[in-house]
Subunit: 351 residues, 2 copies
């Protein structure tokens, strides 16, 4: 039986303990500096307050100051921090981790420096000490996995991505249960770009909830599914373009990481909630400050992280702005507090 | 200004009159034998009882016995019958229609004869008199268009498909308004296969509503979006396979006709309602007879129409059954009253 260390005791980091412990493995669950209360609560009651679920007896909670101790004998590290915690995670793990222990990222996002965009496995690698940057094996998980649903044993399908097929099979075997179904893929770029962008585009689809609330149901009872569906379709059209542009493969877009994960993300969650607030007429800054000051809205964080790079690429003619009108709309909303105006006539360029 | 004849006064045939009349064109709206009450109601009150919307003064309602009269001077025919009405429509139009008048199909479906599947424009053409079968120009409309929403002027995006680009531009010009956005495509097979199959697959995604209702919310409040999203992703994966198999193009799958239309269809409508009933544990026959005896459930009609052909193809080794496990599941449910068991491990073959 394997010993898994999970860094980050948020809802996803904790939900993934469910299939792992059901398969008989033990987990050391290490909270970040944001997770102090959660770790204490698990110690006292074996209950995760945000996931609203019991935590198995074979999960040992740790605070991050005991990371070195928790790492002893670990066969695998799972990263469950949010996208802003990647650098911190690299700093924490770097001096304490043996390079032969693989790392699996649950974290989704992209990083940009106005020249290039990086998928998070590459950003993590960049933050690790140089002597094992090239040795450590990385993998990532993508697909429609709302944490509370996985914790409730709802059927969940995910893709494990890594360039190392043997590692993929190993991790898949650790995770597979009758309710957690997993596939493997060597298209790391495609999977990572899809699962990052879905948060950003879910914010755009979420606008429609706000518009519907504001305009009210029509006299004939009509909602706005046509409108949401068209934005959803444009989102996929742009994700396909960007995945290919960044060197990934379309098959990732048209399966779980792309269409599947965006679908789930549009049905609920923080990105949708932010979209709704924007659709109600608030600027991003107002909405964030007034209603979601403590929440990490990953789609907005992504717009902030990649917006300057995307804009620089378009300015320099390196990326075709006409191919990504919805991306530019969301970047304008989040980075420049622009109102959410959908450029319908610019949709589906080249269809 | 053009004169448009619409055959079929159901919700979609009537909703499309909204952009057409907003553009200043006149419409002759001809009810089928199923639409008698509707035509009478429009005559009396100018209100469509199922669409729950007013009908413009420039729409003249007709019963089908006056089709010949209504057709006089028509520039374009729009077909708004349901999939079972295609043969009837061909019989009605054949003797009365000049072959230089193009026909646009709103109707979605496929026909099968155990040897071949036919898209509906081809099935319609087959039913027309031989002397103008090869002359008449056909087009079709696909994309996420819930009729009541279009009638309420919600932003709606659609694709017009035809092999005749000049015709496409003409029809697009008739329809385009600030709320009805349209694109054109010469991939008739791709568009038609997508918009037909979405009804069948929406039935599968709809199962999850029944399962959730039956199992109830989890202790932690979890719904089943992961499960629905995985089925949605598999649906797209199979639609992509089938579109290519039948000679269509993937770009139709990854834009409005595929991902967009399936998204809208999964959010509401009769296919979802039937899926829910099946998820609650009823057989297809029970659910249809008890709760939806008067409803045309297009996804189930499609399974009945193509099921024998798909099964014959798989038996003869002409279609790879491993590529379409979800299609076979829905065919088993509808054609053979099988229980709705999702073959998770057969999903995403070749991902």
């Amino acid at each position: 039986m394997a010993k898994i260390l999970i860094l980050g005791a948020g809802v996803m980091g904790t939900a993934i303990t469910v299939p792992i412990t059901d398969n008989g493995h033990t987990v050391h669950l290490v909270g970040t500096h944001l997770d102090g209360d959660i770790i204490e609560e698990i110690h006292e009651s074996r209950f995760h307050p945000k996931l609203r679920s019991r935590v198995a007896a074979t999960v040992t909670p740790y605070t991050y100051d005991r990371l070195g101790e928790a790492l002893q004998g670990a066969d695998l590290v799972v990263l469950g921090v949010n996208s802003q915690g990647i650098d911190w995670a690299a700093e924490m793990l770097g001096p304490r981790l043996s390079p032969h222990i693989p790392i699996v990222l649950l974290t989704k996002g992209l990083a940009g420096d106005r020249q290039t965009l990086y998928i998070l496995p590459d950003a993590l690698r960049e933050g690790l000490p140089s002597h094992y940057r090239n040795q450590v094996q990385l993998a990532a998980i993508g697909g429609p996995s709302i944490a509370s649903e996985l914790a409730a044993l709802r059927h969940t399908c995910a893709v494990l991505a890594s360039s190392n097929q043997a590692l993929l099979e190993e991790i898949a075997a650790l995770l597979r249960t009758p309710y957690y179904h997993s596939w493997t893929s060597t298209d790391v770029i495609g999977v990572e770009v899809c699962v990052a962008l879905k948060n950003l585009y879910a914010l755009a689809v979420g606008l429609v909830k706000g518009w519907l609330e504001q305009s009210g149901e029509a006299d004939n009872g009509a909602a706005m599914h046509n409108t949401a569906s068209a934005i959803y379709a444009q989102a996929l059209w742009e994700i396909a373009y960007l995945v290919e542009y960044l060197g990934g493969q379309r098959r990732s877009v048209y399966s779980l990481p792309g269409v599947g994960d965006l679908y789930a993300t549009c049905q609920s969650g923080r990105n949708s909630r932010m979209g709704r607030l924007l659709g109600l007429g608030m600027s991003y800054r107002q909405a964030k400050a007034r209603y979601m000051p403590e929440d990490t809205v990953e789609g907005a964080e992504l717009a902030l992280a990649i917006g300057p790079t995307i804009e620089a690429w378009i300015d320099r003619g390196e990326l075709d702005g006409a191919a990504t009108p919805l991306l530019r709309t969301v970047i304008d909303i989040v980075c420049h507090d622009a109102p959410p105006k959908i450029p319908w006539d610019a949709f589906f360029a080249g269809v």
